[in-house]
Symmetry: C2
Subunit: 431 residues, 2 copies
């Protein structure tokens, strides 16, 4: 028995007169007298299939998986320009009635419905697009960095309790010891830079046991981590992130078209990303918007307003906020040379929301010990990390991008959960 080779829907274009075997899902069935029209969908697109009289008795449930053989015909009636006149149909797997209608352009279902019924909602073109885009984003991220001499690394998510100190950590029993789930690969990526890899990146989940259920936060998300050695200063890191984002959005532009329009998503124009020191940003908020900021930081509203201010003034969706004070940054952050109360650190805001924290890190053992102690931390709890700095650790820095965060902002999704296949929040552990 010779199997018929499957042809993908987008491969039917220009195949007029050819016999093809398609496999996919029944998106819609429409009857017109004794003829039925089946809109068939596979991962590459949709095609109209014409079922003549002989199929009149066939019961074809929407969203059933089928195999359909027939002849490709020219048509003026569909945007594809071709349709298939069905000759053989096999139902591979029939579908029960759907929890909600899938064939409309925009899905008419609430967020909980969408997330609880992922096995159905994923099938909708607009939702499918989110995850195709996410895959492309990661691929472009990886390609850019690999090309620049970065090595992809894989560091443990099960870490020794205390390694990052503090709050918002999930803990578990690991063969009688207390382990926690990594909040970031920070220590490990630094150690690998210092131990000769020089340039590393990681694409992996991180965990935050934060109780707040906001539209911008997930308790498990993919962190795109980058760390680079032998830098001159933290502007090298900002330049790297700027070039990286340019490259990723260029790839997105080349691969996606109409799908972006459906989301009113615009490719951001990135030349040089505007910068404000935190102090300047806080002054803008005070002077222009009459808003106070928390000490050493911006709040959610402040970020939004600064985003709007920069967009109006410079036309940029992005803005770097720099020079956060040492007291609001982690113990490994490099103090500023001129003003050691400040740090050589930055956040990157996109559309008024933080998508990145980054900066230069302390690279000498003595200075790092001092910094840990000044934060009230016991160096003994961090000895495996601190030891690494005794063996010629070069100046270095890095950043991390929250993957779901940037996707959700780019596509103007209402909630970051929509950019996660199976999001985890305080109430959601299933599916």
């Amino acid at each position: 028995m010779t199997e018929k080779t499957r042809v993908l829907i987008n491969e039917c274009i220009g195949q007029e007169g050819q016999g093809v075997t398609l496999k996919g899902w029944v998106k819609k069935v429409r009857h017109l007298g004794s003829i039925s029209f089946v809109l068939l969908r596979d991962r590459t697109g949709e095609i109209q299939c014409v079922l003549e009289k002989k199929w009149a008795g066939l019961k074809l449930e929407t969203e059933s998986a089928i195999e359909l053989s027939g002849i490709v015909k020219k048509t003026q009636q569909t945007s594809l320009g071709v349709e298939v006149l069905a000759d053989e149909i096999t139902i591979l797997s029939s579908s029960a009635p759907l929890p909600f209608e899938l064939s409309k352009k925009t899905l008419n279902a609430g967020l909980d419905q969408v997330l609880n019924n992922r096995f159905v909602s994923f099938r909708h073109h607009k939702i499918n697009t989110i995850f195709k885009l996410k895959a492309l984003f990661v691929n472009a991220f990886s390609d850019f960095l690999t090309d620049k001499g970065f090595t992809q690394i894989f560091t443990p998510k099960l870490v020794s309790q205390g390694a990052e100190g503090g709050a918002n950590v999930f803990t578990l029993n690991y063969f009688g010891k207390e382990a926690s789930l990594a909040q970031s690969p920070q220590f490990y990526k630094q150690m690998m830079v210092g131990a000769g890899f020089e340039r590393v990146f990681e694409i992996a989940p991180v965990y935050r046991a934060e109780e707040h259920n906001s539209s911008r936060h997930l308790n498990e998300y993919i962190s795109l981590d980058v760390e680079m050695g032998f830098i001159e200063d933290f502007r090298d890191i900002m330049r790297l992130e700027t070039e990286l984002l340019k490259s990723i959005f260029k790839e997105i532009q080349e691969s996606f078209g109409d799908e972006l329009a459906e989301y009113k998503a615009e490719i951001p124009i990135i030349s040089e990303i505007p910068e404000l020191t935190l102090k300047e940003a806080q002054k803008v908020l005070k002077d222009v918007y009459k808003k106070d900021s928390p000490v050493g930081d911006l709040n959610t509203e402040g970020e939004k307003l600064i985003g709007r201010h920069i967009k109006e003034k410079h036309g940029s969706d992005f803005v770097f906020i720099t020079h956060y004070p040492a007291e609001t940054r982690p113990m490994y952050t490099m103090p500023n040379k001129e003003n050691p109360a400040l740090t050589d650190s930055f956040d990157l805001l996109y559309k008024g929301t933080e998508i990145t924290s980054g900066g230069q890190r302390i690279h000498t053992h003595g200075q790092l010990l001092q910094s840990f102690e000044s934060k009230g931390l016991n160096p003994k709890d961090f000895s495996s990390y601190l030891e690494a700095f005794q063996y010629g650790f070069p100046p270095h820095g890095g950043f991390a991008i929250g993957l779901e965060r940037i996707i959700y902002l780019f596509l103007n999704l209402g909630n970051v959960r929509e950019a996660s296949a199976f999001p985890r929040d305080c109430d959601r552990l299933i599916p």
Copy 2:
């Protein structure tokens, strides 16, 4: 002030007479009268730097990070063909005495020493190679599949307790509920195939709370997961894995040379991978080696012997073992049509060790329910997974490769831990 642009060591070739600024680590210092020779290492290679009389007083500790400017000169004395006559040297970060010698061709340190001092051992060329190779492996995996229409997915590692049923699961308190760490993305990758992605892959950590401390097992490792819809049968999956491995090893061959020789690692010749049914394999073990096998499986010794047998008979490092009985395979495994006591499943052995489990999965709701019940499982505990099969789930299958496992076998490392940057076993949670 204009910064000097850093030149990488491998960029010095052919730059005779040019001034360059190098950054890297001092691998070795050798004094010859009033002249010193510094072997400098960066991520691209090593170069000899000549320090003339004026540097006589300079104290340069091995493995310090330095910046060195000078003129590139031709030389017959090094394999690179060039050296650098030093003009300016800045010590960026000095090194303390090393826990073990790094400049020998093979590292003279025990496994525990290597793993406890990763920040030093990573710097050794041979060890560095393992992780460069790992990155390339993953990149080639991703490229091959993306090219074949697969979408990279990101599924949660925090899952509802019970989702995979049973033993060897790490559990934790997730906002008052019991969560567990995913043993595999099996259910999620299937759901995404069925929900329209058709072809997916994931590169992510998985967790096994197994107590045994063998040289082949890790408690956290990277699983390279693949799942494909609209297959004819499980041989489509085996063909896919064969082509995938061919492509990955071709990329490795093109990118690595001497490094592989150092490990006596040979690129496996893959044409068609030989197949044995489990029954045939057990018969070979009985007839040729007088060895009994456990019911429905091979043991470690059996895998080794079958690996050896196939290597001798077919010259292949790989062998598929097929048709495991239903009782030793998971509840989602597709029974064989001719003999439902067997399944359309396979393991792939490489050098006599299992690197993959795979097969076709059950895709109809009724059959799946039955299979869960026949294994004594309560379908209610798996409702979010089972529901997905009501909506036109196509025939599908997939497999997973243990990343560290295949790297360690390929490079003939003595222990799988050597292929993990920061391995996790029963005793090891730090660094």
